[in-house]
């Protein structure tokens, strides 16, 4: 099971946080601080796996963003790397050549995509196309909603 997923920039600013177990705000803040310090202090070409408390931390840097995934001890680290990569691919397909600014200004979309890919700390859908199709459909539904509202506005 995955415990949490954090995205942060090279200056340690948090861009996305997903927690798969209930935790207090204080705990979340502390863990975020610990993760950023640990990951940002790693040498450039070192191993992508760390040990922290009783969890394994898998991290990977994509351009200016660090993706940090915590998994339980019996999980497979290499497949966790693939999970991170798959999420980046999904973001890339959605935003078209995704960069950090996309995630900053459209953070709620990043969450929606994540919620179609992972759920309850496990992988939900293993096919890229399926996830993309679900997101598109949900977006259209949302669109239909708001256009409805705009129409109402226009006609008083």
């Amino acid at each position: 099971m995955m415990r949490f997923l954090l995205l942060f920039s090279r200056q340690g600013k948090l861009r996305l946080q997903k927690w798969f177990t209930p935790m207090t705000e204080r705990e979340k803040k502390k863990i975020t601080r610990d993760m950023t310090t640990m990951v940002l202090s790693r040498q450039p070409r070192s191993c992508n796996f760390l040990h922290w408390k009783d969890l394994k931390i898998i991290y990977k840097r994509y351009a200016s963003l660090y993706f940090c995934l915590a998994i339980e001890n019996q999980e497979n680290e290499l497949i966790a790397l693939e999970v991170i990569h798959r999420y980046v691919e999904l973001l890339d397909k959605y935003f078209g050549n995704v960069c950090e600014l996309d995630i900053i200004f459209n953070f709620e979309k990043a969450y929606f995509i994540l919620d179609e890919f992972l759920m309850g700390g496990e992988i939900q859908e293993t096919s890229k196309q399926m996830v993309n199709r679900s997101i598109e459909a949900s977006d259209m539904l949302q669109e239909g909603d708001s256009s409805e509202w705009f129409e109402v506005e226009l006609f008083g």
Partner: protein, 791 residues
């Protein structure tokens, strides 16, 4: 999809703030506006406001006032508002908040919504933050969705069920049938969810595990389909068809095959196929191979398959990718105990990894190397380990040093090698060794009597080079103090002779005494060494006398006390000085793995023959009548049983040369003999658990028996208890045992004293029943003791 303009404007405003203070100001203004908006009636921009609040929350600012808004938005009929509302619920609400209960009803309604995307929102939120009550409430609904819905909802319902089972274990039973039927679905998402659910159910409940074992053939079929199928564009990742599903199925097979011959046999072929057919050029392939290896090693696989798995790990070790090397070593570490020889074959590669740049890899390599040290490879391994020690990162130094010490102690080919190794470690990493290294080394040196000359020469030279490493300096001072005469004699067989004068030696010790680098303990060592030399040198005794008297007024109280006492030794007790300062006897080591009980047996023999005293029967405190018949412990009806746990101290495996018929008619002596330790007799040794016995006669009817238990296996032992039975007329009184757990590899022992009173002087016998738990199972055994040493 059109971006949320108000949200983006706010984000831009926040980002353009140049200082933290400015940012706080912007955020406060925005939050005030948001709060005002929340209080108003329904306006079109509700979702934008909540999204703004969530952004602010992510920056770390408090956002609890948005919780009720989330609840309201979730209940809204508009999809856009529901979407943001549920997102807000997942971010701001957790099961500890009261507001989370309020959304239970909304979730319930949305689970049966006509639109699958609304259903999906509800399922996602439930799986993310559903509390135990919510789970109990909605479990039947989830079960319904598991059976009758489209695959989009089924896969989400499966993961929701996983969350429910994690929260409320009993509900696992509810989902088991549905999980079983889901395995026949074609949709990969649903299959994946089903496999995760089954893993969760099997891990929680062994009975469910038994039932799901029947699914092994189905799982094998599915895997075969994935591995052998051609290219499938929907699920392909670098040539592997749906690696995520493959890894999950392998994990489930591991759980089902663990400790079960039948299931393991059924999956043997498949695992061999996956291991050989999977392309290992990319990380994905290696991920699947890794999972396969873990599965093979954890089930009852045939030996050929195990060798294949270890070879795959060996290949991983040679991989350029650091991650692969790291996980290879982690896996090898797990099996180094069971498949030791297989891992030994890759020792060379592992030792090479000690030189890797990465700290995590180095740490793994160190642990694995220490586990692979054996009597045959000790010399070459130690060379590598010492090279590693000189260049290893600081956080690993003390671990490496203690690992080296342990290895040296267990497999040292010769004493000289052992001493050399320890000296090497002290010179390279002396600051990071543990405290007991100094006394251990001293004890080792005293035991190697032929090497005293060699040792003191080496240590003297080390002292001249560098006096900053406290442990090394302490040992050197001690040796110079003890064996200074050998040093001054000049010749030495093992090393080149060097002329050392008395002044040189005293200079060296004085440098240590006066240096600001020396700790108070070290200075104590140096002062005592200087004093000891007064009996070993001839010319410069006056110099020593003056040094000692100077320190009589030292500020450090310990040094002052020593100096004053030594001064007194010079002045008033000069006649005793030689005797006090003479060579120390060989220090006995009181730790497991060392046999040094030879001296005790002879000593006892000597004293036995010389005592003939009248005895007065000693009345021992009679224990309360606690005769209770433990089934089967007693053979005949004439023996009574005294229950109670007892343990015994001391693991000195000395063969009982003193037990025997000729001691039985010896009358015990009334005066305790403090200098003769009682002989220790092993009475039981099976499966790594050993029990030894020693006894001491208090009078000719009373006997104190001390029993010691030790554990030389690799697993810890708990709930260790002993029960005893003695012949009817004998009384037994058990003292409290020292403990009931025996850590692995003899790290500690359990001891207990038993007092026996034999007023009728019958033939003393004792039956002991040993029971303990190890590795999750309980063991019991009985041993009869017919002869007591020293009796």
């Amino acid at each position: 999809m059109s971006p949320s303009v108000p949200l983006q404007e706010m984000i831009r405003a926040i980002r353009s703030a140049r200082t933290q203070c400015e940012e706080r100001g912007v955020i406060q203004r925005e939050c005030a506006a948001i709060r005002a908006q929340f209080r108003q009636a329904d306006n079109g921009g509700r979702s934008h406001n909540l999204a703004k609040l969530l952004y602010v929350h992510m920056l770390g600012y408090p956002a609890h006032f948005g919780q009720m808004e989330c609840v309201r938005m979730i209940a809204s009929p508009r999809y856009s508002e529901k979407r943001v509302g549920y997102l807000g619920a997942m971010m701001l609400l957790d099961e500890k908040q009261d507001a989370s209960l309020l959304i239970t009803n909304s979730i319930k309604n949305d689970l049966s919504h006509s639109n699958q995307y609304v259903q999906s929102l509800a399922l996602c939120t439930l799986a993310c933050m559903g509390s135990a009550e919510m789970c109990r409430d909605l479990a039947p609904e989830i079960d319904r969705l598991l059976r009758a819905s489209n695959s989009y909802i089924k896969k989400k319902a499966a993961l929701c069920a996983v969350h429910i089972v994690r929260k409320v274990h009993e509900l696992g039973e509810l989902f088991a049938p549905a999980a079983r039927s889901l395995l026949s679905e074609k949709n990969h998402g649903v299959l994946h969810g089903a496999v995760v659910l089954i893993i969760e159910l099997c891990e929680r409940n062994p009975e469910t595990l038994e039932r799901f074992r029947k699914t092994v053939p189905d799982l094998v079929q599915i895997m075969k389909g994935l591995v052998l199928s051609g290219y499938s564009p929907e699920h392909d990742v670098a040539g592997i068809s749906d690696p995520f599903l493959q890894v999950r199925i392998l994990r489930l097979l591991r759980i089902l095959g663990h400790n079960n011959e039948g299931a393991s046999d059924a999956m043997n072929d498949l695992l061999a196929q996956v291991a050989t057919n999977t392309d290992s050029t990319k990380t994905v392939g290696n991920a699947v191979l890794y999972e396969t290896v873990l599965t093979v090693l954890d089930i009852k696989s045939e030996s050929g398959l195990r060798v294949l798995a270890v070879n795959i790990l060996g290949r991983f070790l040679l991989n350029n990718d650091r991650n692969i090397r790291y996980i290879a070593m982690t896996s090898l570490q797990k099996i180094v105990g069971t498949d030791h020889n297989a891992v030994q074959r890759h020792r060379g590669t592992i030792v090479d990894c000690l030189k890797d740049q990465d700290a995590s890899v180095k740490r793994r390599a160190l642990e694995l190397s220490l586990a692979l040290v054996s009597a045959t490879n000790i010399r070459s391994m130690m060379k590598e380990l010492l090279i590693f020690l000189s260049s290893c990162p600081v956080e690993l130094k003390s671990h490496a040093a203690s690992g080296i010490f342990n290895a040296a102690e267990r497999y040292a080919p010769s004493q000289r090698w052992h001493i050399d190794t320890i000296l090497h470690v002290l010179t390279t990493a002396g600051g990071d060794v543990r405290d007991e290294t100094v006394p251990n080394l001293i004890q080792l040196i005293t035991n190697a009597s032929e090497l005293h000359c060699y040792t003191v020469h080496k240590l003297y030279r080390a002292l001249l080079i560098d006096i900053s490493t406290q442990s090394l300096v302490q040992v050197s001072c001690w040796c110079i103090g003890e064996y200074g005469d050998l040093l001054l004699r000049g010749e030495c067989q093992e090393t080149e002779p060097v002329q050392v004068t008395e002044d040189d030696v005293l200079d060296a010790l004085e440098t240590v005494l006066q240096s600001h680098m020396s700790s108070p303990a070290t200075r104590g060592f140096a002062l005592t060494a200087t004093m000891k030399l007064s009996t070993r040198i001839t010319d410069n005794v006056d110099r020593i006398r003056s040094v000692v008297s100077i320190y009589g007024s030292c500020i450090d109280v310990e040094l002052q006390q020593r100096a004053v006492e030594y001064n007194a030794l010079f002045k008033k007790y000069d006649h005793m000085r030689a005797a006090v300062l003479e060579r120390m006897p060989v220090i006995e080591k009181n730790s497991p793995g060392h046999t040094n009980g030879e001296s005790t047996g002879e000593a006892l023999k000597e004293t036995q023959g010389s005592r003939m005293k009248p005895t007065e029967p000693k009345q021992l405190p009679q224990p309360a009548n606690q005769v209770c018949d433990l089934l089967g412990l007693l053979g005949g009806s004439e023996e009574t049983l005294q229950p109670g746990p007892f343990a015994a101290p001391g693991l000195l495996t000395n063969t009982a040369s003193t037990a025997g018929g000729d001691l039985l008619d010896l009358l015990g002596d009334l005066e305790p003999e403090p200098l003769t330790p009682a002989p220790i007799v092993p009475v039981y040794d099976k499966d790594g658990v050993a029990l030894t016995l020693s006894c001491e006669k208090q009078s000719d009817v009373a006997l104190t028996v001390t029993l010691t238990a030790s554990n030389s296996t690799d697993a810890d032992i708990s709930s260790f208890t002993l029960q005893a039975a003695v012949p009817k007329s004998v009384q037994l009184h058990m003292k409290a045992p020292s403990g009931d757990s025996l850590p692995a590899r003899g790290a500690a022992k359990v001891t207990q004293m038993v007092v026996l009173n034999n007023p009728n002087k019958v033939n003393l016998k004792m039956k002991v029943r040993i029971s303990y738990s190890s590795r999750g199972s309980t063991f019991q055994d009985t041993v009869q003791i017919d002869s007591f040493p020293g009796l």
